[in-house]
C-alpha cells in the first residue's frame, strides 16, 4: 500500500465512520451515549487494532482534519459575539459565575483524581474536563497532561453531564431555562449545549454562552494557577 493510498484511506475512513455514526445517532433519538464522536472514536480504535495500524501513523495521516481545529477554535468567536449581544446587561454576573464554575469543575476533578488514582498524567488531563474539546486539548498540553486523554475525558464528561445535570437541576428546583442552560453548558460543553437546545432556544443560547466563556476563561486562568503543581505534588505522595 502506498503512502498516499494509506493517507486517503485514513481520511475517508474517519469521515465515513463519523457520517455513519451521525445517522445512527439520529436513528437512536440523539441519546448522548451514542454521540457520533464517541461511536466513531471507538469504532476507529477497533479498526486500527484490527488492521494493526499504529496510532502515530494514523495521526500523521489525519493531520489535515486535526489541523482544522485551529481555525474552528478561532471561529467560536462568532457564537460568543452573538450570545454576548443577548446578555449584555448580565455580562458581569455571568462572567463571575463562569469563572467560579470553571475553577470548581477543573480543580475538583483533578485533585480528586490525584488523591484517588495517584496517576499524574490522568489527573493533569482532567483539569480541562469541562472545557470544549479543541480548547481543552490545548490547555491539557500546556498543563502537562495528554491532549488525547483529555479529548476522551471531555467526551465522557459531556455524556455524564447530560445524564446527571438535569437530575441535579430538578432536585434543586431550578425552573429558569437561562440558569438551566448556563449550568449545562458550563459542565457539559457542546454535549450540554445540544441538549439545552432541545429544551428551548433560550436554554440553548445560555448553554452556548457558558461553553464559550468556560473555554476562554479556563485557557487564561488555569495555566496561571498553581493547580497543576498541586496535582503533581498530591499524585506524587
Amino acid at each position: 500500500m502506498t503512502d498516499a493510498i494509506r493517507m486517503l484511506l485514513a481520511l475517508v475512513g474517519t469521515i465515513g465512520f463519523y457520517l455513519l455514526a451521525e445517522q445512527l445517532y439520529i436513528k437512536l433519538h440523539r441519546s448522548p451515549l451514542v454521540h457520533p464522536v464517541l461511536v466513531s472514536i471507538f469504532g476507529l480504535i477497533g479498526m486500527l487494532t484490527w488492521l494493526d495500524w499504529d496510532y502515530a501513523t494514523y495521526q500523521q495521516d489525519t493531520l489535515f482534519i486535526h489541523f482544522l481545529l485551529g481555525p474552528a477554535t478561532v471561529a467560536l468567536a462568532i457564537p460568543l459575539y452573538e450570545q454576548m449581544a443577548l446578555v449584555r446587561k448580565m455580562a458581569v454576573p455571568l462572567l463571575i459565575a463562569a469563572l467560579v464554575g470553571a475553577l470548581v469543575a477543573g480543580a475538583s476533578a483533578a485533585l480528586l483524581s490525584a488523591l484517588w488514582t495517584g496517576d499524574q498524567l490522568l489527573s493533569l488531563s482532567l483539569i480541562a474536563k469541562s472545557v470544549t474539546t479543541p480548547i481543552a486539548m490545548d490547555i491539557s498540553a500546556v498543563s502537562g497532561g495528554s491532549p488525547s486523554l483529555t479529548a476522551g475525558i471531555v467526551l465522557f464528561t459531556g455524556a455524564v453531564g447530560c445524564l446527571l445535570i438535569p437530575l441535579v437541576l430538578r432536585l434543586m428546583r431550578v425552573h429558569d431555562d437561562a440558569i438551566h442552560g448556563f449550568v449545562l453548558g458550563l459542565t457539559a460543553h457542546g454535549f450540554g449545549t445540544a441538549q439545552a437546545f432541545d429544551r428551548s432556544v433560550t436554554c440553548g443560547a445560555f448553554a452556548g454562552l457558558a461553553m464559550s466563556l468556560t473555554g476562554v476563561i479556563s485557557a487564561f486562568v488555569i495555566p496561571v494557577t498553581p493547580l497543576a503543581d498541586w496535582v503533581r505534588y498530591i499524585a506524587g505522595l
Partner: protein, 135 residues
C-alpha cells in the same frame, strides 16, 4: 493589493466595511490570520495560553468593533463549528495509546467525572440563587 482584497469600501470610516461581495475563502484567511496573530503574541510574551484562544478573543474584539458578523466569515465558520466534533476524532482515537490506563483507572475516572460535574452544578445553582436574593 489591499484595496483588491477589501474592495472599494470607505475604509476605515464606515462601521460595516467588512460587508460586501466577498468569498468564504476570505473568511478562512481571516480565521487563520487570527490564529497566527494569537500564536505569535503568545510566543512573544511567553504566555502559557493557547494561541488559538487568544485568536478567538482577537476576532471577538474585531467583531465588537465592526458591529456585526459579515456573511463571508459566517459561512466557513458555521461549517467548521457544525462539524467541530468530527475535527477532534483523530485526537480522540489517541485514547488507544492510553488503553492500559483506561482499563486500570477508567471506572474511577467516570466516578470522579460524575462527582465533579454534580459538585460544579450545585455550586453554580447556589451562586445564581445567592445572586438573585441579594439583587
Amino acid at each position: 493589493m489591499l484595496t483588491h482584497i477589501l474592495g472599494k469600501v470607505p475604509f476605515p470610516t464606515h462601521a460595516h466595511f467588512f460587508t460586501g461581495r466577498r468569498t468564504p475563502v476570505l473568511g478562512i484567511f481571516v480565521l487563520l490570520l487570527f490564529w497566527l496573530l494569537g500564536s505569535v503574541l503568545v510566543a512573544a510574551l511567553g504566555w502559557p495560553i493557547p494561541g488559538s484562544v487568544v485568536g478567538l478573543l482577537g476576532l471577538w474584539l474585531a467583531l465588537v468593533i465592526n458591529g456585526g458578523v459579515p456573511d463571508w466569515l459566517k459561512k466557513p465558520s458555521g461549517l467548521l463549528i457544525r462539524y467541530l466534533t468530527l475535527l477532534f476524532v483523530p485526537a480522540g482515537v489517541g485514547l488507544i495509546d492510553h488503553w492500559d490506563r483506561l482499563m486500570s483507572h477508567g471506572a474511577a475516572m467516570l466516578v470522579i467525572i460524575a462527582i465533579s460535574s454534580v459538585l460544579t452544578a450545585v455550586v453554580m445553582v447556589l451562586i445564581f440563587k445567592a445572586g438573585r436574593t441579594s439583587s
